[in-house]
């Protein structure tokens, strides 16, 4: 395995208490505002997709010691270099040293409300038929994969029940790898705490694409 996500935290021990925070607190430094804005604005150029950016962020060295917006900025820089929009020497000196490369779009101030209201829907119309229906018992993929995926490690190789069918959606695994949208049916799968952890009286629901699932034996 060469792909290792540092972001797959579900079920890990030793992270301590949750520290609640008042509702109005959005940023903890001025640069965090700018980190948010430049990341969203560069995302709007259409050079990469959200799954590719998640893959870049979750594989950043030192992920666990970085704050949220540090992860965003480091991830953005990796994406800019990967797509040859900015080079390391330019970031080092803080100035343009090489000609710009064309991007599909530049987000203008006047377009911000419309672009945000539109978002990036992932639901797709396909000729596919769903393999599963509500109430079906399934088992999740047991093996780890060597690329970005959205099946958390704690939910691998577990029995669950289909609770909802959400239609065909852009498949994060292929989309992240530059292999296209390859839409697949997406399901809400309910797993019991007893199945996941051996004990417990609650349920955990995950959203899982069809390739993550097989009929339960």
């Amino acid at each position: 395995m060469t792909y290792e996500s540092h972001a797959d935290l579900g079920g890990q021990e030793g992270h301590g208490a949750v520290i609640p925070e008042a509702e109005g607190v959005l940023f903890h430094a001025d640069w965090e505002r700018m980190a948010l804005a430049v990341t969203l604005a560069m995302g709007a150029t259409g050079t990469w997709n959200i799954d590719e950016s998640r893959g870049i962020r979750e594989t950043l060295p030192g992920y666990s010691s970085l704050t949220y917006y540090e992860i965003w900025i480091k991830g953005l820089i990796e994406l800019l270099k990967k797509h040859s929009l900015v080079s390391a020497d330019e970031i080092a000196v803080g100035a343009m040293l090489h000609p710009a490369r064309p991007v599909k779009r530049v987000l203008r101030a006047a377009d911000v409300p419309v672009v945000l209201a539109k978002g990036s829907p992932t639901l797709r119309v396909t000729g596919l038929q769903p393999r599963f229906t509500v109430g079906d018992h399934v088992v999740t993929r047991a093996a780890p994969v060597d690329h970005h995926t959205r099946l958390p490690a704690y939910a691998r190789g577990k029995r669950g029940r289909i609770a909802a069918v959400y239609g065909a959606h852009v498949f994060a695994d292929t989309h992240a790898q530059g292999l296209g949208e390859q839409p697949q049916y997406l399901y809400n799968v309910e797993l019991t705490a007893a199945e996941l952890w051996g004990a417990g009286d609650f349920t955990v629901a995950i959203d899982a694409w069809e390739p993550y699932l097989e009929p339960a034996p």
């Binding site: 972001a7 797959d8 935290l9 579900g10 079920g11 992270h15 301590g16 208490a17 949750v18 520290i19 609640p20 509702e23 959005l26 903890h28 640069w31 700018m34 804005a37 430049v38 969203l40 604005a41 560069m42 709007a44 998640r54 979750e58 949220y68 900025i73 953005l76 929009l85 900015v86 000196v93 803080g94 100035a95 343009m96 987000l107 203008r108 101030a109 377009d111 911000v112 409300p113 672009v115 539109k118 990036s120 829907p121 992932t122 959205r150 958390p152 704690y154 939910a155 959400y166 852009v170 994060a172 997406l186 996941l196 952890w197 609650f202 955990v204 629901a205 995950i206 959203d207 899982a208």
Partner: protein, 184 residues
């Protein structure tokens, strides 16, 4: 980091990839227009209007869009109703997926390792960190946002609010109650 981000912004502007005005508009949007007051209005409407509530539970995306909240990080919405018997709690163990059009930007704790690691394994203990203790009889359902569906919790209407107006009710709804980490 301050200087580092400023340098990056300068390069991106010089190369013509970003419009400085768009950066200001993005920040202003999430600091003043898109935040948990949007979700609070959705919840208050559901409390006072049974037909709206039914629609919200059947097709949250459309019901929420009818109040003007839609788009980025809320393209497909599902509403989860808390009752005396069922308590819903939302998390994203893999990153920080969160329903932006109705709740705005996620709080730091939502994006942090303690919440992401523990919510799916010991939800009652996580709730205790927020001062919430639920009776054993209440079933807990944890929702891990692992795809592009975004979840909004409809908290229970607080006792004593029978005579409140819809606007007054919206003022009672907190961000955390719509994630499922607090009661009202």
């Amino acid at each position: 980091m301050e200087l580092h981000v400023r340098a990056l912004r300068t390069v991106l502007e010089q190369k013509g990839y970003i419009d400085p005005g768009a950066l200001d508009a993005l920040i202003e949007t999430y600091e003043t227009r898109i935040g948990p007051r949007n979700g609070a209005r959705v919840v208050a409407r559901a409390w006072v209007d049974p037909i709206y509530k039914k629609w919200l539970l059947a097709d949250a995306t459309a019901a929420i869009a009818s109040l003007g909240y839609e788009g980025r990080q809320g393209e497909m919405m599902v509403a989860l109703e808390n009752t005396a018997a069922v308590h819903n709690l939302v998390v994203c163990t893999l990153c920080s997926c969160y329903p932006w059009p109705v709740l705005g930007l996620p709080p730091t704790w939502y994006k942090s390792a303690p919440y992401r690691s523990r919510a799916v394994k010991e939800p009652r203990s996580v709730l205790a960190d927020f001062g919430v203790r639920l009776p054993e009889s209440v079933s807990i359902r944890v929702w891990d946002s692992t795809a592009e569906v975004r979840y909004l919790v409809i908290p229970q209407r607080p006792p004593g609010s029978e005579h409140s107006s819809e606007a007054q009710l919206a003022d009672l709804v907190t961000r955390d109650s719509m994630i499922g980490t607090r009661l009202l």
